[in-house]
């Protein structure tokens, strides 16, 4: 199904022998199309690693990973590159816009990389900027935009090539509370209204609460899952996870 992400016994090991670090130690996950999933966990839980693998930034040591039914755990650099170009969108914690380009040009960048130079792409860029509420700031450089505005530009950029999934790595990690709310509201809308499949990694319960599902990771494995929606429930769930351990 379109947008469906699957992992089976996904493992990622850094180093070898005695100093080997098992960042992911067998994660099996199923994300349906149109879902919004938040992944939470303490540091060292492997949540960032999981996101990197899902985003085709890195390859797993073992296990399977599939996008819309197609495996991509063993693709070479060229194959991964194409995936990132055409089917996966990424939003970073540090906004990673090119300082030399305007907001509009930053949004356009994935299209240019993919070789799409036609007018429809440019129109889409502008539409997306409108969507994230920054049409009047489209000529501004990143240095002239606030943190929240930069993050919204990143989101618009991630959407340009109509990706099957959008991954966000601590999207509000660097923002003040008001900007955080704006960005989270935008992400929620994208999923609820536009049906965009979204996976966000976060340590912020407020951010995770906007998702439909919240998956907990601990020590490289899935430790539990609760439905989203309520921040309080999440905080309780987190606390009980601390007490009882991963087998609950």
């Amino acid at each position: 199904m379109k947008g469906a992400l699957e992992t089976r016994e996904l493992r990622k090991v850094y180093g070898a022998g005695e100093t080997a670090v098992r960042a992911l130690d067998g994660v099996t996950l199923d994300i349906g199309g149109g879902q919004m999933v938040a992944i939470m966990g303490p540091s060292g839980s492997g949540k960032s690693t999981l996101l990197h693998l899902l985003g085709a930034l890195d390859t797993p040591t073992s296990g399977e990973i599939l996008l819309a039914g197609e495996p991509y755990g063993e693709l070479d650099d060229g194959g991964l590159t194409r995936l990132r170009r055409d089917r996966i969108g990424f939003v970073f914690q540090f906004f990673n816009l090119l300082p030399a380009l305007s907001a509009e040009e930053n949004v356009l960048l994935p299209g240019l990389i993919a070789g799409q130079r036609d007018d429809s792409t440019r129109e889409r860029a502008r539409t997306l900027l409108e969507r994230v509420g920054l049409d009047d700031r489209r000529e501004h450089r990143p240095a002239e935009l606030s943190g929240g505005e930069q993050q919204r530009v990143s989101i618009a950029r991630a959407l340009l090539t109509r990706p099957q999934i959008v991954l966000a790595d601590e999207p509000t990690g660097n923002l003040d509370s008001r900007s955080s709310r704006e960005v989270l509201e935008l992400l929620r809308e994208l999923n609820a209204v536009d049906g965009q499949t979204l996976v966000i990694v976060t340590h912020d319960p407020a951010a995770a609460a906007i998702a439909g599902r919240v998956v907990f990771l601990r020590d490289g494995r899935v430790a539990g899952e609760v439905p989203g929606g309520s921040t309080e429930r999440l905080i309780e769930a987190l606390a009980s996870l601390e007490r009882t351990g991963p087998d609950a």
Partner: protein, 859 residues
């Protein structure tokens, strides 16, 4: 933005100052290449114009076996023989010489503008040069002269004036009866041309019967020229040359070939430094942009796309730098031409070649892109994870394999330099090997240097850390943090400084060896020679015949020995066939024995000089080694006046002219080459006490009657030689200076990067109370350390390179010893410090001005 490709343009525009700094090396390098190109084109044009003008209507030139360096004389009968040869149209015989204009009462200058190339022809002979009279008439008889109008104007001489000229016969007053002009408007670097009737010219030049040259036209058109040439060669003695003007021009050109090649090499080194700067700068930029590049990779940009974008940036900088460099190049060309004229080298007005700018542009572009290849590849290899990780853990590891490759390159390079030095003929292959060898050494050092950085920094920063504990420590950490970057920056500086040391060590070794030889072998007290005397560099003035006897009458003069030199492009060898250029040295054996104490192998001194008197010759060691001539071997002397078969009487240990000399008696020189004028006089006083009086009296005679001559003590003679050698190198130093200047930009770039990386550190320091001056000092210290490392590497590499070259040279010129140029090395070390300080000014100011709050919170 239209396409991904235009990202490169945007990146360049976004960091304008940085881009300019990076491109500065290309600007200077391309400028130097264009400057040298224009210089060589101008030199070429000068000599082509010369031959076109002076021999405009001449088909063939008959002359002695010298070259442009002054020819020997033709026998009187040559003119008649030429006229009798079928196919010869008109023939005109000439005597030639160089006169100097006397303006002040006693002195003449060595300035080009007072030199006059005088030709004595039969009045009424058809003019075979491409000139026409523009005022007055042609000279007919007596001390009349016709001048090149442009020279007359430059020296403010008008038609009808009387001018005083220093001639071999003494100072004479001649009347200007005519002015002429060459159609091609010849500018021979300020030297002038003049015409005289032949009989008075013979008297002034002391050439009573011989000719210096016979110019002729050929009947029946251009296709007859080669057959007439053959006929003439058949009928005239074998030491006589018969050439077309074009041949002679290209002979001169090929003599300049080695010089040209070296010029190009140094210009290429300047460009090489530019490429190195691009390499260093782009490495730093790629590192700085790691996160951006990672992000592009997450957006799906492939490795080659990113690498291509970086190369595109380099290409843009290359084009911009090259275009700016073109403008600089024209200015540099003017400068180089002026410099060469100041060094008494005749160069005319600047001349442009259509291919020059294009060639310079292309080389600049290629260098820029070449320098960026490695950084571009690295950029393309950025992992998409870097978008998140940034530069964490990204410092390049020092790989031992690189050091090994570097060491091999250094070894190969030294071998190439040695081979270049040892080669007898500077063929293209040998020159290329030498130059590639030098570049290999530089690359090798660049690869090896990172390993030496840490210990070097620790050692060099020690005094700084003592004097300024905080700043010194910071500076040392900064320099040590990225050894590869520090090494690359220092290497760029090293290149120029190493070349200075290498060239200088060649010069100083030669000079020391010659100086030692003079000390050892000179038994004379005084030398009388023409002003600016330098055999082998064009026609030389000669000494009047009567002067020797006049000086011999001075009571304090015990010996006045004649010396006659003749520069040949082909020295006589075993079978009359020569090979290399060299100097014939002739003297009166009995007299000369008393003013000279050179060691002679293969005979006692008495034996050797007796043999010389009998017609044998001595051979310089360099020439003997090259031709395998030994004492007692037969040798054939072939010249325009005759041919003599004789033997080698001894081998002389000398490094004058690289040991490429053949010594003989005055009589032998006259018999074979027809030389009868003195080049130099060597005097010895009756006693040590008599020396000052001798000098005074000789000076008196010379000042009064022969102002174009100089009286020199042995020390003055030595410093003359030194000056000449240094002058030859002056042009090279000028070019290398540009390379050194270019490397300064590299230091500025590195320091700027360092300041950016250390922004937070600097902010914390200031927050803790460090003053702006302390911040500036730490940057200055870092720069000083880099400059010193560059200087030390330069001294080491330059010394090694010079040593290798010299070892090679000394296999062909035995007796040359390596003398490390210590004063130059000290100067280079000081230069490293000063250059470092200079480069640090702007970055230090920027660092000191950082806003504390912004700096502390810098991500």
């Amino acid at each position: 933005m239209r396409s991904f490709g235009s990202l490169a343009i945007r990146q360049v525009r976004a960091r304008r100052l940085r881009s300019l700094l990076t491109a500065a090396g290309i600007v200077l390098g391309v400028g130097m290449i264009l400057g040298v190109l224009l210089l060589t084109v101008t030199i070429h044009r000068t000599f082509t114009d010369l031959y076109d003008s002076v021999y405009g209507r001449t088909d063939l030139i008959v002359s002695g076996s010298g070259s442009a360096g002054g020819s020997s004389s033709l026998h009187h009968s040559t003119l008649a023989t030429v006229r009798r040869t079928p196919g010869v149209g008109q023939a005109s015989g000439q005597v030639q010489g160089v006169f100097t204009l006397v303006t002040g009462r006693r002195t003449t200058s060595t300035d080009q503008r007072s030199k006059l190339n005088v030709s004595g022809e039969r009045p009424g002979a058809t003019r075979l040069s491409d000139s026409r009279t523009v005022a007055g008439r042609k000279p007919r008889s007596g001390l009349e002269i016709a001048l090149q109008k442009s020279w007359a104007d430059a020296n403010e001489i008008a038609l009808g004036d009387r001018m005083r000229l220093a001639t071999p016969a003494g100072v004479r007053s001649l009347r200007v009866v005519g002015l002429f002009q060459f159609t091609a408007g010849l500018d021979f670097g300020g030297q002038g041309f003049a015409l005289m009737p032949i009989a008075p010219a013979r008297r002034l030049l002391d050439k009573p019967s011989a000719f210096d040259e016979v110019d002729l036209t050929v009947d029946g058109g251009a296709d007859q020229i080669s057959s007439v040439q053959r006929r003439l060669r058949h009928r005239l003695p074998s030491g006589v040359t018969v050439e077309t003007p074009q041949n002679k021009a290209s002979d001169v050109e090929s003599e300049l070939q080695a010089f040209n090649t070296i010029l190009y090499f140094f210009a290429a080194m300047a460009l090489f430094v530019g490429g190195f700067l691009i390499f260093n700068s782009f490495n730093m930029t790629v590192f700085q942009r790691t996160r951006e590049l990672g992000m592009l990779r997450t957006l799906g940009a492939g490795s080659s796309k990113i690498a291509g974008s970086v190369l595109g940036e380099a290409a843009i900088l290359g084009v911009i730098g090259a275009v700016l460099g073109l403008g600089l190049g024209v200015a540099l060309a003017f400068g180089l031409i002026a410099l060469m004229r100041a060094l008494n080298f005749p160069v005319g007005q600047i001349s442009f070649a259509s291919y020059a700018p294009a060639a310079a542009l292309v080389t600049g572009l290629l260098t820029a892109v070449g320098g960026a290849l490695y950084p571009a590849r690295r950029a393309g290899r950025t992992s998409p994870m870097r978008a998140i990780l940034g530069t964490e853990g990204l410092r390049a590891r020092l790989r031992a394999r690189r050091a090994a490759i570097g060491a091999v390159l250094i070894g190969l390079g030294l071998a190439g330099a040695f081979w270049l030095g040892a080669a007898n003929d500077t063929t293209t292959i040998v020159a290329a090997a030498g130059m590639l060898g030098t570049i290999a050494i530089f690359f090798g050092i660049a690869l090896v240097a990172p390993f030496a950085i840490r210990p070097l920094v620790r050692a060099l920063s020690w005094p700084l850390r003592r004097l300024f504990p905080v700043e010194g420590r910071l500076a040392a950490d900064a320099a040590r943090s990225d050894p590869a970057r520090t090494a690359a920056t220092a290497t760029a500086l090293m290149i120029g400084l190493a070349l200075v040391v290498a060239v200088n060590s060649l010069g100083s070794s030669f000079l020391k060896t010659i100086s030692d030889e003079f000390d050892r072998d000179f038994a004379r007290d005084l030398t009388v020679q023409p002003n600016g005397f330098s055999p082998g560099q064009g026609p030389q003035q000669t000494i009047a015949h009567g002067l020797r006897d006049r000086l011999a009458r001075i009571p304090q003069a015990a010996i006045v020995a004649r010396e006659r030199f003749l520069y040949l492009s082909k020295l006589p060898g075993a079978h009359g066939k020569g090979g290399s250029e060299g100097l014939l040295v002739a003297f009166n054996p009995r007299q000369y024995e008393q003013v000279d104490e050179t060691t002679i192998d293969g005979a006692t001194r008495d034996q050797a000089f007796a043999r010389l008197a009998r017609g044998q010759v001595t051979v310089g060691k360099g020439w003997a080694d090259e031709t395998h001539l030994g004492v007692g071997d037969p040798i054939t002397l072939r010249g325009p006046s005759g041919t003599v078969h004789t033997k080698v009487g001894g081998i002389v240990e000398t490094v004058v002219f690289g040991g490429q000399t053949v010594g003989m008696s005055l009589r032998t020189l006259k018999r074979v080459w027809g030389v009868s004028a003195d080049s130099e006089l060597a005097l010895k006083a009756t006693s040590k006490a008599a020396r000052p009086a001798l000098r005074r009296k000789v000076q008196g005679v010379v000042n009064r009657r022969y102002p174009n001559l100089a009286v020199l003590s042995n020390d003055q003679l030595k410093s003359n030689v030194e000056r000449q050698v240094n002058q030859q190198f002056a042009v090279f130093y000028a070019i290398v200076g540009v390379a050194i200047f270019a490397s300064l930009f590299g230091i500025v770039n590195t320091l700027t990067m360092s300041v950016i990386e250390r922004t937070r550190e600097i902010g914390v320091l200031r927050a803790l109370g460090a003053s702006r001056w302390q911040v500036r000092r730490s940057i200055a210290d870092e720069s000083l350390v880099i400059g010193l490392i560059g200087a030390l590497l330069g001294i080491a590499v330059g010394g090694g390179l010079g040593y290798a070259l010299l070892q090679g040279l000394s296999s062909g010129i035995p007796g040359v010893e390596y003398r490390p140029p210590v004063p130059t090395m000290v100067a280079v070390a000081i230069a490293g410090v000063l250059l470092g300080l200079l480069a640090s000014i702007l970055p230090a100011r920027r660092a000191a001005r950082l806003d504390v709050i912004k700096a502390v919170s810098y991500e």
